[in-house]
């Protein structure tokens, strides 16, 4: 029996050795960049894993978990020699963490999806004004915070998609029209816990007022073909399956589905049409991803360099080709699919308002019974 215990302990220890061994090599590769500098500072080795050299890193708190983002960070590292460290999480959690860390926070850049969240970060005091002519020329004013606490990185439209075999685009006009009785039992959308829906409603509150928006939400709920479930892709699938005729979803998912490894998903994407609503009226709802400069950034210069890189023409082309979002830099060329969709009119509102109205939107969705 004792042998068994000994064997167990040995197994554990050897596993631990293997593990720490791997950990060691990991740290080594990260630290190699600055091994050329003579080790004058005694504390340098202790901090090697997190920061090879004060000027050589930028710490990113990101809520965007797309592979293309990380590929861009790698590319940036290669081109500039600046190491990009990242902590990932949900946007609201990251803001909370930065807020609580206060002055000690290691965050330099904050990256997230959703204009509302960007505004929330600003209101929470975890961002500071950006001063960079390059950034300002990369990103037009309408895609920037009015105090330049953040700039947009990319945009996406939340549109109406329809089953090509049952719906003609002429039957579609506005988001508002989807609440009309003719669409009873024919509409699907995802749940109201989703921030894309919350921001969509927040934009309607801005444009149409709360009372009208609530009426609209109730109309949509009455027209639902089923209780909200799944993500945006699942709404597209519901069209293909014949559960519903029209759905509300983000544009880039259509792009991703068209390039899916799953032939069936490609088929679904080919059988749905993308319709940009409200062209005659208030415009299609556009939401953004954005970059904010952390209030207590310790590597401000590198942070701005990374932000400039990501919004540059090349950066934007790399990004949008990977994620099928729309670029914010007008100089960037659109991916083929987005070109085919053509120009469209967008809502004319401040993105910050998505955040200001978010609470009202959530409450409104609760009241209207949008699950």
């Amino acid at each position: 029996m004792r042998n068994k215990i000994v064997a167990g302990v040995l197994t554990f220890l050897s596993a631990a050795v293997i593990v720490t061994g791997c950990g060691g090599t990991n740290g080594g590769t990260k630290g190699e960049n600055n091994s050329g500098t003579n080790g004058a500072s005694p504390s340098a080795s202790a901090e090697a894993t997190a920061k090879p050299e004060k000027s050589g890193v930028v710490n990113v708190f990101t809520a965007r978990h797309y592979d293309i983002d990380f590929a861009m960070f790698d590319q940036f590292e290669k081109e500039t020699g600046i190491t990009v460290n990242e902590i990932k999480g949900t946007a609201e959690e990251l803001v909370e963490r930065m807020k609580r860390e206060g002055e000690s926070s290691e965050a330099d850049l904050f990256i997230t999806v959703d204009g509302g969240v960007l505004n929330y970060a600003k209101e929470s005091g975890v961002l500071q004004p950006i001063e960079s002519e390059t950034l300002f020329s990369n990103v037009p004013e309408k895609f920037r915070d009015k105090d330049n606490n953040w700039v947009a990185l990319a945009s996406r439209a939340r549109v109406i998609v329809y089953a090509k075999d049952r719906v003609k685009p002429e039957q579609l006009s506005t988001y508002e029209a989807l609440a009309e009785p003719q669409w009873k039992g024919k509409v699907v959308a995802r749940s109201s816990t989703n921030m894309y829906n919350q921001s969509l409603i927040a934009s309607f509150i801005e444009l149409n007022g709360e009372a009208k928006t609530e009426e609209w939400a109730k109309g949509i709920v009455a027209n639902f073909a089923r209780d909200p479930e799944g993500g945006d892709r699942d709404q597209a699938k519901a069209l293909a399956a014949g559960i519903a005729d029209v759905a509300i979803m983000n544009t880039y998912y259509v792009g991703q589905m068209l390039h899916s490894k799953d032939a069936e998903e490609v088929k679904v994407a080919e059988n749905i049409g993308v319709f940009f609503p409200n062209q005659e009226t208030t415009g299609t709802h556009l939401n953004i991803s954005g970059i904010g400069l952390a209030a207590h950034a310790k590597n401000k210069e590198n942070a701005l360099k990374l932000a400039e890189y990501m919004t540059s023409k090349e950066g934007q082309e790399m990004l949008t080709n990977g994620s099928f979002e729309f670029p914010v830099n007008p100089a960037a060329e659109l991916p083929q699919l987005l070109k085919e969709w053509g120009q469209f009119k967008t809502q004319d509102i401040q993105y910050a308002q998505l955040g200001v109205n978010n609470k009202a939107a959530t409450e409104l969705l609760n009241r209207s019974g949008w699950k």
């Binding site: 791997c22 950990g23 460290n85 959690e93 909370e96 109201s192 209780d227 679904v268």
Partner: protein, 547 residues
């Protein structure tokens, strides 16, 4: 008088209770931070929350949890009884396979099933090719019913495991007597096996309940309005973290209530059955159609709860391997192992100490402490992480002077930017798992051996190593492996509390799944499952060698 009491107390417990106390205090800090939210004044949004969310969401949570607990317990008990009391073709294989669903995180299973059964999924595509027109209503897995079934399929092993190990070791004499007295098989099951294993069922079922209560991944994807969803809607939708914490605190208060009930249930049915020297139950051979029925039923469960989703994931991983695989996976794997092993050691250390103190010192206080230790398991990880973060940041602030003296820099965050925070959070979260295993382990052997040892003048420590440890070794290992499994699958804590560039397999899987890239999520998910299978095998092998 006072000194005498103190001395007696010291003699009896000394270092043990001190360690247990320290563990309790450390584990309680984050929970207390959250519970403190109940003391303050409710915020401006509270009225809206109580009017539109609280009751509905609580009821939906109750339905989901209740449904899952019933279904999972049913499956767990029946399968445990089938594999322990009967012999049928492939029995040994099945008795092992029923542990494997533990290796699959429920949210991965949910994504896999919903995608597999969706219009574009393999099942419907195949049916369409066969020319079968399908009614979509039959495939609506993203619903309350679907969630209950999926949770049950992947959580029933908690019940199965506890009931099986109980029946294997302790039911033989009762069951044999009942059989000898001519009871028919059904009556043996309902009148003897079932009442005997109530404690084990409750233990397993409470783990199932906690898993369901703190889940967010499944309910979010399925659009269910659970209590956890309400917490996150308040936080992410209304940006009102105080109200979100208040909601979480109410949930915790509710859980404490459940703890008390569970304890009462277990106390009423206390069978002291000698642990060693128990004869294993002789299995009755099933013959003919009954044997085939057993095989078919077992295969059905095994397919649904393990083989089907894994095969599907393998196919997806094959599709996306080139895009997803890179050398960083080695780092993720070692990261996962590293935090898991640390957590297992720390958690089991405190679990053993606390449960040992608790059983020797049966007082309401120690009981409460023991239960409070398990609170971390009951609340959503993301909420617990806020509590942990608050604790660590305040420690870091207090240690600022020390850091400066060590030359680490001014106003530095050291602990909260290190792995210590993650491991600490894991340990709090999964203490319940280790503690539950130890508690029932000690429960099973009773106190008479250790009391005999103490009477002969051995101290608590000597008694533990010479008498108790050999008897509860299995429980320690089982608990450790359970904790390992949990950490490998854990997500929300890791997400928020990890240091820079610290990716685990679970965070990678989540990165894809949260963006609806389920095919890309297959590879990291499979690696998680592989690690899980490895530890389940280890557990199974150890169990076999012992017997």
């Amino acid at each position: 008088m006072k000194t005498l009491l103190l001395r007696r107390w010291k003699q009896r417990f000394g270092a043990w209770s001190v360690i247990s106390g320290i563990g309790a205090v450390l584990a309680l800090l984050p929970s207390l931070y959250i519970l403190a939210g109940l003391l303050g004044k409710p915020g401006e949004n509270w009225a809206h929350i109580t009017e539109y969310m609280l009751l509905d969401y609580a009821l939906e949570s109750l339905l989901l949890t209740g449904g899952t607990v019933v279904l999972a317990s049913l499956a767990g008990i029946v399968l445990a009884w089938l594999t322990v009391a009967y012999d049928y073709p492939l029995r040994r294989f099945f008795s092992f396979v029923f542990l494997l669903p533990l290796a699959i995180p429920p949210y991965i299973a949910a994504y896999t099933y919903s995608s597999m059964l969706s219009y574009t999924g393999s099942v419907q595509t195949w049916l369409r090719e066969m020319g079968v027109a399908v009614n979509q209503n039959y495939f609506d897995v993203m619903s309350m019913k679907g969630a209950i079934i999926i949770f049950s399929l992947f959580l029933f092993p908690y019940v199965y495991l506890m009931v099986r190990s109980f029946l294997e070791k302790h039911s033989a004499s009762f069951v044999e007597s009942a059989r000898l007295l001519g009871r028919n098989p059904l009556s043996v099951f309902f009148r003897v096996a079932l009442p005997l294993s109530t404690g084990a069922v409750v233990g397993g079922a409470s783990l199932v309940a906690f898993e369901v209560l703190n889940d967010y991944g499944v309910s979010k994807h399925f659009g269910l309005q659970t209590f956890t969803a309400a917490i996150f809607k308040t936080w992410f939708g209304m940006y009102d973290i105080d109200s979100a914490l208040r909601l979480a605190a109410s949930l915790m208060a509710l859980i404490i209530g459940i703890f008390v009930i569970e304890r009462l249930l277990r106390r009423r049915k206390r069978y002291h059955i000698p642990a060693n020297r128990s004869v294993p139950l002789t299995r009755r051979k099933l013959k003919g159609p009954v044997a085939w029925l057993a095989v078919i039923f077992s295969s059905f469960i095994a397919l649904l709860s393990f083989f089907l989703p894994v095969v599907q994931l393998l196919i997806w991983a094959w599709w996306t391997f080139e895009d997803v695989w890179n050398e960083k996976f080695v780092g993720m794997l070692s990261n996962t192992l590293l935090v898991s092993c640390f957590t297992v050691v720390i958690t089991m250390f405190f679990a053993v100490v606390a449960s040992n103190v608790n059983r020797q010192w049966r007082s309401p206080l120690s009981l409460t402490v023991g239960r409070l230790l398990s609170m971390g398991y009951s609340i959503p990880g993301a909420v617990l992480s806020i509590g942990v973060l608050a604790v660590f940041l305040s420690v870091d602030k207090r240690l600022a002077g020390v850091y400066a003296a060590l030359g680490l820099g001014h106003n530095k965050l050291v602990l909260s930017m290190s792995l210590v925070m993650v491991v600490f959070a894991y340990s709090i979260r999964f203490l319940a798992v280790g503690y539950n295993a130890m508690d029932s382990g000690f429960d099973r052997i009773g106190n008479k051996y250790s009391e005999a040892s103490r009477t002969m003048g051995n101290g608590m420590t000597a008694t533990f190593f010479k008498v108790d440890l050999p008897l509860v070794k299995g429980a320690v290992l089982a608990g450790g492996i359970m904790v390992f499994l949990e950490v490998v699958k854990e997500l929300p804590l890791t997400l928020l509390l990890r240091p820079f560039n610290f990716d685990t397999l679970a965070t990678k899987a989540y990165q894809y799944a949260s963006d609806e890239q389920i095919h890309q999520a297959a590879l990291p998910s499979l690696l998680i499952i592989a690690l899980g299978i490895g530890s389940v095998c280890l557990y199974h092998w150890l169990g076999r060698r012992k017997s």
